[in-house]
């Protein structure tokens, strides 16, 4: 794995064969499921940032979700396995900046999360200026909609859930517990 900030890439050659390979790589990547949220793909989660031809290899730029997410290495190995089938020379580059945000999760991805009983993340509002605001218990907290019945009468049970990217909630209407994908 190469850790870097951005890829220095050459302009892609624009011939038809190359576009076909590029499209095939994206199609293949769209089939790579997130290991911890198998209903969504790594493309829908915004983990794949770029695919580009550099010299005689294809550079797939990915970005980690959380610094300590145990899925990161599994995702890389899944990408490698999937793209091996295409027979091209592929290199995976990890880009730290810009930092991954749940705002990059595509609308289809959000719907799939909801269908799987996971409340999708609300837009990221916790901008830097809030860092100098005190974190009072009485602060306003985002309204979370129950993915099962649509009610807003929900309450947080725990800040963390089954994976680092989720929190545990309970619906006060249908009484079902559910996961919230944390806005990040």
């Amino acid at each position: 794995m190469v850790t870097g900030i951005a890829t220095n890439r050459l302009p892609a050659r624009n011939d038809a064969a190359e576009s076909a390979i590029l499209a095939a790589i994206w199609r293949a990547l769209a089939d790579v499921a997130d290991p911890e949220l198998p209903t969504v793909s790594i493309v829908e989660l915004g983990i794949v940032r770029d695919v580009a031809r550099v010299g005689d290899e294809w550079i797939v730029t990915v970005t980690p979700t959380y610094s300590g997410c145990p899925a990161t290495r599994i995702i890389e190995s899944d990408i490698r396995t999937t793209l091996a089938a295409i027979g091209e020379n592929v290199r995976i580059v990890t880009a730290l900046a810009p930092a991954w945000t749940t705002d990059w999760i595509a609308p289809e991805g959000r719907q799939k999360l909801r269908d799987a009983g996971i409340a999708p993340p609300h837009p990221v509002t916790r901008e830097g200026w809030l860092d100098s605001q005190p974190i009072t218990f009485a602060r306003s907290r985002p309204a979370v909609r129950c993915p099962n019945c649509g009610s807003l009468k929900t309450a947080e049970l725990a800040r963390f859930g089954s994976t680092p990217c989720k929190a545990q909630y309970r619906c006060g209407e249908c009484l079902e517990p559910f996961d919230l994908f944390k806005a990040h």
Partner: protein, 266 residues
């Protein structure tokens, strides 16, 4: 590929990266000690998830430290080499984060005092002239914003909870307060890097930190300790490798496996 860091100040930069890394590494190890024995299942999971974020951040800092060292002609050390094969005098973490877990109020108090500082520090580091430091900080600060919300909430829950939880939280804050001065001390290493636009000026964060912490402690009905002796700017401490006895005991457990079986893989 990696944006190459300016080739100057490598010794200072290496030391500073260890300070950033070791705070995360040591606190992650402490939080890991709660695995399987948290007070409630949800907190067991939360503590270790916070630890996981901090460990991930520490790996990014350590990897960069290893690269800086190697660029300077020293033999390249991996993140694992730096984590497992340095002794306590070579660790650069704050004294606060190496303090034992104690009861859950002690753990939460330590976490809140650190988180509130960490979020301010990382916010400043996103502006670093060193692109790689800025990139790691921009990633980490998002995680730490979530950490401080959780630890602040627990300070209030326990401080404003039962008489027992209140007295334990008060005792925890009283006991840890003396270690907070060190967070704002700036030594020659940091001064050089601050002047170069690489490090954050920790001293400039003190007032903001105090006011944010006071607000939460007030809400938790916890009395802010009157300033006792503090590990402060004129003394040397964890950032210079002078640690409390707790660190070497913790490292003994953390490092025993790779030191006993240097080729161990899993």
């Amino acid at each position: 590929m990696t944006a190459s860091p300016p080739a100057t100040l490598d010794a200072e930069r290496f030391d500073y990266l260890l300070r950033l890394a070791d705070n995360g590494l040591v606190l992650a190890q402490r939080l890991g000690e709660w695995v399987g024995k948290g007070p409630v299942l949800e907190e067991d999971i939360a503590s270790t998830n916070v630890g996981l974020d901090l460990l991930g951040q520490a790996r990014l800092w350590l990897a960069y430290a290893g690269d800086v060292e190697a660029a300077n002609g020293s033999p390249a050390r991996s993140e694992d080499d730096l984590a497992y094969f340095r002794d306590s005098a070579d660790f650069r973490n704050l004294l606060l984060v190496e303090q034992p877990n104690g009861n859950y109020a002690d753990t939460i108090a330590r976490q809140f005092l650190f988180d509130q500082w960490h979020v301010l520090l990382l916010g400043q580091l996103t502006l670093s002239r060193d692109d790689r430091i800025a990139a790691i900080a921009a990633k980490a600060v998002k995680e730490v914003r979530y950490h401080v919300e959780r630890s602040a909430d627990w300070v209030v829950r326990l401080g404003d909870g039962t008489p027992t939880s209140h007295s334990r939280m008060q005792a925890a804050i009283d006991g840890l307060w003396m270690y907070t001065g060190e967070m704002f001390s700036v030594d020659a290493t940091e001064r050089t890097l601050i002047d170069a636009g690489i490090a954050a000026d920790a001293a400039a964060l003190q007032q903001t930190w105090q006011s944010l912490v006071r607000t939460v402690l007030d809400e938790a009905s916890i009395v802010v300790p009157a300033d006792p002796f503090m590990q402060g700017s004129r003394s040397r401490g964890g950032k210079q490798g002078l640690h409390t006895e707790h660190l070497s005991r913790m490292l003994a457990e953390m490092q025993v496996l790779p030191r006993s079986y240097p080729d161990a893989r899993w």
